[in-house]
Structure formats: C-alpha cells, structure tokens
C-alpha cells in the first residue's frame, strides 16, 4: 500500500480498487447497525489540519476516524504560514511529536501535503491530502469513483464528463487521473479561459461545448465555480456561464436514462446546477457524501492499520 495519500495521479489500479473494495466492505458492515463503531483504529490519533474553510471534507474525515475508534482532533488554522505565525513545518512537527499517527491536511498552497510528507517522513506520521490549492483532492476522486461504481458498475469504457472551472479545480485533476486509471474515458468541458494548458497530456478529451456531449455520457460532474479564485474575469457573467455550462433540467434531459449527475459541492444552485436537477433521482450528491465517509475510513485503514488487505 501507499505511504501517504498525496495525489490520485500515480495511484495504480490495484491500490485504487483495494481502497474502493475496502470502502464497500466497511459500508456493508456498518449498514443497519445500531452502533456504527468499529474498533479498528482504537488507540490511533488522527489530526485534521485545515488551513481553508471546509465543512463537508473535515466532517467526513472526522466521522470516518471516529467510526473506526481513532482519536480525532481537529486543528483549524486561520490563514497560512506566510504571515507572522508559526511555519507549516513547525506546526506539523509539533503535531507529530504530540502523537499524531496521521495528519490530514487541507491547505491553500498546491503541494503543501508533499512538503509535509517530506518533513514528517522520519517520524512515521502519515499524511493525507484533503485538498491542496488548485492541485489535487484525492479522497474526493475516490468517493466519486465509489459512487460511480455503485451506480454504473465497472467504470472501464464508461464516458464521464467533467464540466466547469477546470483551471482551478483540484477535484477535476484528481478525478481525471483516477478515472483514467480505472479505464474510463474522460471528457473535459469548459470555456477556453478555464482550461489548463497542456490538459491534452492528461489523457482526456477537451471540448468547449457541453450539449453535443450529453447523449454520449454515462455521468456528468459539475464543478464548483470557485468565485474566490476568480481574480481575472474568466467569463463575462454568471448568467452567460449558466447558459453555456450550467446543468439545467433541459440539458440533463439530453443525457441517457442511466446517466448520473455528480457535484462535489458546495453547489451554486441556479448557476452551476438547477435545483430540480440537484434534487432529482439521477443526482448522486448525497450518495457522494455518504460514500465519502466510507472511502476515508478505507484510506485511514490502509494507512494506519497495516499492509494486509481487508478481504
């Protein structure tokens, strides 16, 4: 298994499938239980270290840890180490020295988890990337894959569309790598201003028009339009964006019957996704959140509970 979980890029298919299978096993084990608590990580200390605001990801990791009986401690750091405060390195070493078996990091700087893994390597503390800047969010991609597997079965040969702010999206980066690893075809759809340079080398198809793609997709994932990162007028108006790329009811009607609509949240209802689409049976938004807990349990399990597989 892997030493740290820093990226989806580079994860091999065997590792991904092992994590997804473990998540599935954990889900079935806990299903219908009165007390959703496994003793697996009793005595282990997991610290979430969030330098950016997040509700769903932090809560998801916290629940995942607690359902496996780990001691979970949340550290929220306002701002980054660029100010007068303690450096990220010192904070990480402090938490490790205080007994953290695993540090789960959300940070605004791309690559911050890589640095953390390097600084903590000699301590044995594991690092999980819970979203770094505009780089990656590997557990999001894992939970998306888990959700798609439940809805569609095997992903090999499936065609998945990802639409929206590809340039700033860590969810998109992680998903492209993971879906490709699982053998799916990925179609990236965005206005040219939101397409990262060299995206062709990611092994995905890139297009600027959403509508012609819809009938051929097995799933479509709407990305958050990250307003706080929009310092450059990437498109004229929210309305124009919505007309071209919003997941409206009329648009999703063009999808095949079985096609799934995903969104990593938080959703901008009306602009990115119409309320009737978000709440429709083909939308998997809540299922994504539920799977998030199981996938993160599986990740913590494999990082902290040793090498052997659960099966």
């Amino acid at each position: 298994m892997i030493r740290h979980l820093l990226t989806a890029d580079g994860l091999d298919g065997e590792t991904v499938n092992t994590v997804l299978d473990t998540a599935d096993t954990l889900k079935r084990t806990l299903l219908g239980r009165e007390v959703r608590k496994l003793p697996t990580l009793r005595g282990r200390t997991v610290i979430t270290m969030f330098y950016e605001n997040s509700t769903r990801t932090r809560v998801s990791f916290e629940v995942a840890g607690k359902w496996m009986s780990a001691d979970v401690i949340n550290v929220s750091a306002s701002g980054s180490s660029t100010g007068k405060g303690e450096s990220l390195r010192d904070t990480a070493l402090t938490l490790s020295a205080a007994g953290a078996d695993c540090v789960i990091l959300r940070h605004g700087a791309s690559g911050a988890p890589h640095r953390l893994a390097e600084w903590l390597d000699h301590t044995g503390t594991k690092v999980v990337n819970a979203g770094d800047g505009t780089h990656e969010h590997p557990t999001q991609a894992l939970l998306d894959a888990a959700t798609l597997r439940e809805r569609l079965g095997e992903l090999a040969g499936r065609r998945i569309g990802i639409v929206g702010d590809l340039l700033h999206s860590r969810v998109a980066r992680s998903n492209v790598h993971l879906l490709r690893t699982l053998g799916a075809e990925v179609v990236l759809i965005a206005p040219p201003t939101l397409v990262p340079e060299g995206v062709e080398s990611w092994g995905a198809t890139v297009t600027h028009e959403l509508d012609p793609q819809l009938p051929g997709l097995d799933a479509v994932m709407g990305l958050r339009v990250q307003a706080e990162r929009m310092n450059g007028g990437f498109f004229p108006t929210a309305r124009e964006y919505s007309i071209g790329y919003g997941l409206s009811a009329a648009r999703t009607a063009k999808l095949p019957e079985h096609a799934v609509v995903l969104h990593p949240g938080p959703m901008l209802r009306g602009m990115e996704i119409a309320p009737q689409v978000a709440d429709s049976p083909r939308a998997a938004v809540e299922q994504q959140v539920r799977n998030g807990v199981h996938v993160r349990m599986a990740v913590l399990y494999h990082l902290l509970a040793g090498e052997e597989s659960t099966a």
Binding site: A109, S110, R115, R173, G198, V199
Partner: protein, 448 residues
C-alpha cells in the same frame, strides 16, 4: 578609504603565474603581475616574485563580472552580507559584481549605494558596484534619485527595479531618457504584472498538472518588445535581465539584426541554461525562481542565443534566501537561487563541453560583455601587458560536487545541490592581488 577612483593594487608587489594558457589556447606561458597590472607575458625564468602560482597549464581568463547579484545588505543580513557574498563571488572567479537595489532600505538614494560600495571596498574581495533603483522604493510610481546616485561616490551606472518590472510604459520611457545624461543603462525585469497574478511557475503542462498558477512566457516577451521600441525611440540603453524564454531570444535575434537607435543588451542565468520545470514535481522551493524555470525548448534556445551573441552575457541572479523563506510550502517561498560559485561550472557543462562556446567565448559572456554593459573600464580587459590584473584561473577538467552548506554564502539555496559539475576556479586575482585560491578566500581590505 575615500579614494574611489581606481583599484590601486599593491605598490611593488610582484605575483607570477606560471604555466597559464590565456583563453585556453596555445602553449603555457608565464604571466607577471606588478603594481596591479600585467607587467609581462612570456617565459619567466628565475624570478624574484613575492608570490608564485603554479598553474600547470590552467586556463587564464579576464576576471568575471556579474551584472546581477543580490547581496541582501542592508536589511537581510540573515540571508547574505556584502562580506559573505563577496567571498562567494571571489571563489566563483568574479572580480566585480553589480549588487541589486532591492535591499531594505532600497538602494534608491545616494546614501545606500555609497554604503554598499564602501562595504565592498572594506572587504576587498571583489569590486562591488551598486545598482540603483529606477523608481523610488521600487514602487513603480516615480523615478528614484537616479542622477544623485550616478553622481555619488558609488558612481552608479546601472539602474534596475529587479524583482519588480517597471511596467508603466511612460515611467520606463522617462528612465531610458533620463539615464542618457550620464551614460546609464536601465536593466529591466521584464514581467507584465497583469499577466502574472500570483504566478508560481512557467505556464505550461507541468504547472497545470501541479496546480501552480502560470507565468506565461508572453508576459516577458511583450515587455521586452515594448522596451526595445522605447529604447529605440528614446536613444536610451536597455539591458534585459534574466532572459528566460525561447520567444524572448527569438525576438531579440530579430530586433538586434536591425540597425536601430538606442542600445539593447541582455543576460541569461546559469539556471535557465540548465534546469527545467520538470524539477517542480516535488514542490521543493529550491527550484522556485523568477522568472521561472521553463522547458527544454527554452533551454536550448537560450544556449543558442548566448552562443550567437543575441544574448550578450551570463548573469547569476545570485539570490540568497534564509532557510525559513525556502523550507516552506511552494507558494510561500521566496523566488531565487544561489549562483556565484556555480556559474562557471554550469557554463562549462551547458556551453563549453557541448562545443557551443570556446574559452574566448566564455571570456566574452562572463567578463567582457558584462563589463562593457555596466561601464566598468577596469574589468573585462584583454589578458595583455599593461592591462589591469583582474584575472581568473580555471581548471577546465576538474569535477566537483555542489554542496550548499560548503558554499561561502550565508544561505544554502542552491538548485544544483548534489550535482557533479565540471570546471573549477583555481584562483581569482583582483586588481593584482589574489582574492581566492584553492577554494579559500584571501581577504584584504581597502583596495577598491
């Protein structure tokens, strides 16, 4: 101490260099230095020199001149001082360095530039020539006291807001015009700030995959094109700092093939001749630099441009940073790399060994051209009788392993850590005195 006119040398002192090969050509000869000048070249048998250096056929070049060094004093003495930076320069074969203006306080007035020049003279390892800021406080709003710095004891001739671009075209025009009064040159850090908000890395597939905000080559190229046109229009002298892209090289090739008014020169750094953005994979900020490391194609184009003379010279952009400013997350890290002690070796590896430059070419790009651009009349002179003895002795065959901790700088942020590089400076002779020899500095104060 107040005599800033000329390097004096040591009256009466005679130093003999035995078996040197000037410019790496011909049979070894002996070279006698007396009173700070080259007194004789030929076969010296039986000599009464005060000091004899047995060079064993090593290559003798005019002393190197770095048009772009950050010495960090005043303000960031925890990263570098004039003293440690001078030592690094002497060990790297340099006899003169131009110290950039982005200190704290900024070198935008006569007091600061005189201080830096005086510190250089007191330490006496290398001729430290302060660069003056173009705009007050590097703020890009109004001109700094350029004339006062030019007429000060520091005799400033090169002006730069390096680290920042003089992006306002009107201000750049005025700077190019105003510096004509005393033969000054404006050294531009070409980076359109509107095209590079929060930029972290070369805009391309690697940065996109790593989620690092892009620094497109066009942000450099468009400013270089504009400034060349302004230099032509005003008759001013433009020097383009750290050319980093194939596009800039291609533009300069075209521009300099035309007969134009004004004057345009350009520099390239050793790191842009060797390293690419493939190194960013681990997010190790030792590879963070501005302008950023670009692609193989850019590296190849820059080597060709330097060989051709489209880019005149090599500048280290030696940029020491304290540990806490480098051992952090990528976006929080300061851009910049050490360069003074590795420049020659990187040049040997990237230009000499592949046959792109011979040793005369090395003398041109490391000494003659930067001396000419900076207006340093005692530097970059021919290895010839009667010329000032600013000389560097190079072992072209030696190989050594770069270790940041073993370099003379206060900081350790070399991007070449652990690399085995060819070519080594055996000795540096500045104004007739040996300032570095066999990897050790020999400090003598009060010579410049």
């Amino acid at each position: 101490m107040n005599d800033v006119e000329r390097p004096a040398g040591d009256p009466g002192r005679r130093t003999l260099l035995r078996e040197v090969r000037p410019y790496g050509t011909g049979e070894p000869v002996d070279l006698l230095i007396e009173n700070g000048v080259v007194a004789a070249i030929g076969q010296q048998t039986g000599t009464d020199a005060d000091e004899i250096v047995h060079a064993g056929g090593a290559v003798l070049l005019p002393g190197f001149v770095d048009p772009h060094t950050h010495l960090r004093e005043p303000g960031r003495e925890d990263a570098e001082t004039v003293e440690t930076g001078s030592a690094a320069a002497a060990l790297g074969g340099y006899t003169a360095v131009l110290a950039m203006a982005n200190t704290d306080p900024v070198a935008d007035n006569a007091v600061v530039v005189e201080h830096v020049r005086r510190r250089g003279r007191e330490i006496g390892l290398v001729d430290v020539r302060p660069v003056g800021a173009v705009t007050a406080g590097l703020a890009g709003q109004r001109l700094a006291e350029i004339g006062a710095m030019a007429r000060s004891r520091a005799e400033v001739r090169v002006f730069s807001d390096d680290g920042h671009c003089v992006d306002d075209p009107l201000l750049m025009r005025r700077a190019l015009e105003y510096t004509r009064a005393f033969g000054g040159v404006v050294a531009q850090h070409a980076q359109d700030p509107r095209l590079t908000p929060d930029s972290q890395a070369h805009e391309g597939p690697n940065a996109a995959r790593l989620g690092l905000a892009g620094w497109p080559a066009a942000a450099e190229e468009s400013v270089v094109a504009r400034d060349c046109m302004l230099a032509e229009h005003t008759g001013g002298a433009l020097h383009v700092c750290h050319v980093s892209s194939a596009g800039t090289a291609e533009f300069l090739r075209w521009w300099r093939s035309r007969a134009t008014g004004g004057s345009v020169s350009a520099e390239v750094t050793p790191h842009h001749l060797l390293l690419t953005d493939e190194l960013l994979e681990t997010y190790d900020p030792r590879y963070k630099v501005n302008p950023p490391l670009r692609t193989d194609e850019d590296v190849r184009a820059l080597r060709a441009a330097l060989a051709e003379g489209v880019v005149d010279c090599v500048a280290t952009d030696h940029a020491p940073h304290a540990d806490q400013d480098k051992d952090c997350e990528w976006s929080a890290a300061r851009p910049g790399m050490l360069g003074l002690q590795t420049a020659l070796s990187v040049l040997v590896r990237t230009m000499v060994r592949p046959g792109l430059l011979d040793w005369r070419g090395v003398a041109r790009v490391l000494s003659e051209a930067p001396a000419r651009i900076a207006g340093l009349s005692e530097q970059g002179r021919p290895v010839a009788v009667g010329e000032p003895a600013n000389l560097t002795l190079v072992d072209p065959d030696a190989e050594w392993t770069v270790r940041g901790a073993e370099l003379a700088s206060t900081s350790v942020n070399t991007p070449f850590e652990g690399m085995v590089l060819p070519g080594r400076v055996l000795a540096t002779i500045s104004a007739g005195r040996i300032t570095a020899r066999d990897g050790k500095v020999e400090p003598v104060g009060g010579r410049f």
